[in-house]
């Protein structure tokens, strides 16, 4: 049961992220919700690779008789974290420019492009 706790944490994080994306009006809160959702997916990727009783996947000076956890999801997670940083930087710079133009950060007010 203890080994299922990270998966439950993934579900909780994705739910919080989706809640913030759906129901929060402030643009900064929407960006934070997107980041929390991304953290949830990254946690899911790392938790996939865990094997019971194994150590970190560093090949040199491996203690004899021990296995390694899967290294591929760790590579996928690193790539995903970097992509998340780039997207977050773009979103935040767009929010700064939008605040100067529209004067508000409310997503319900930011509706010049409707219908």
């Amino acid at each position: 049961m203890i080994y299922n706790v990270p998966f439950l944490a993934v579900v909780v994080l994705i739910a919080i992220g989706a809640y913030a994306l759906l129901f929060k009006r402030n643009l900064i809160k929407i960006a934070i919700g997107l980041t929390i959702l991304e953290s949830g997916v990254n946690l899911f990727l790392i938790t996939l690779g865990y094997r019971e009783g194994d150590v970190a996947p560093i090949y040199t000076n491996l203690p004899s008789g021990r296995g390694m956890v899967l290294p591929v999801p760790q590579a996928l997670t690193l790539t995903s974290i970097v992509i998340g940083v780039a997207v977050l930087a773009l979103i935040l710079s767009l929010i700064i420019r939008i605040y100067r133009k529209y004067g508000t950060l409310d997503s319900h007010e930011m509706r010049r492009l409707k219908e």
Binding site: L21, L22, F23, M110, L113, K114, E115
Partner: protein, 113 residues
């Protein structure tokens, strides 16, 4: 030379040749009409005696062009404009809602079989 479709075939070269032949025939018939007609006052449109207003004032703008159609379907268009809100939260709601509908339609019948 022809594209095979389900019901037959479509050959644009033959179509173009037929179009040119029909165009030539109608051009020759048009050329055999009356060549002389009075110019000046007889060419103007008749608007029950009124002067024809300048063209800039009667040019129909884009919003009013299909007034008959959009006015008839007023209920449908009001509903559509209400759906297309432009709020980012609604875009996410549509995405998650459709993903849930796909899940229910595709996977649940397999589970309960």
């Amino acid at each position: 030379m022809a594209l095979e479709t389900t019901g037959g075939y479509w050959s644009p070269v033959i179509w173009l040749a037929a179009f040119i032949v029909a165009f030539l025939i109608s051009y020759i018939i048009w050329g055999m009409g009356e060549k002389k007609h009075a110019k000046g006052e007889q060419e103007k449109p008749f608007l029950s005696g009124m002067e024809e207003p300048p063209k800039e004032e009667v040019h129909i703008r884009a919003e009013n062009m299909y007034w008959g159609f959009t006015d008839t379907l007023r209920g449908y268009y009001d509903f559509m404009k209400k759906i297309h809100t432009g709020i980012i939260n609604d875009y996410v709601l549509w995405f998650l809602g459709m993903a849930t509908i796909f899940f229910i339609v595709v996977i649940l019948p397999e589970v309960f079989k």
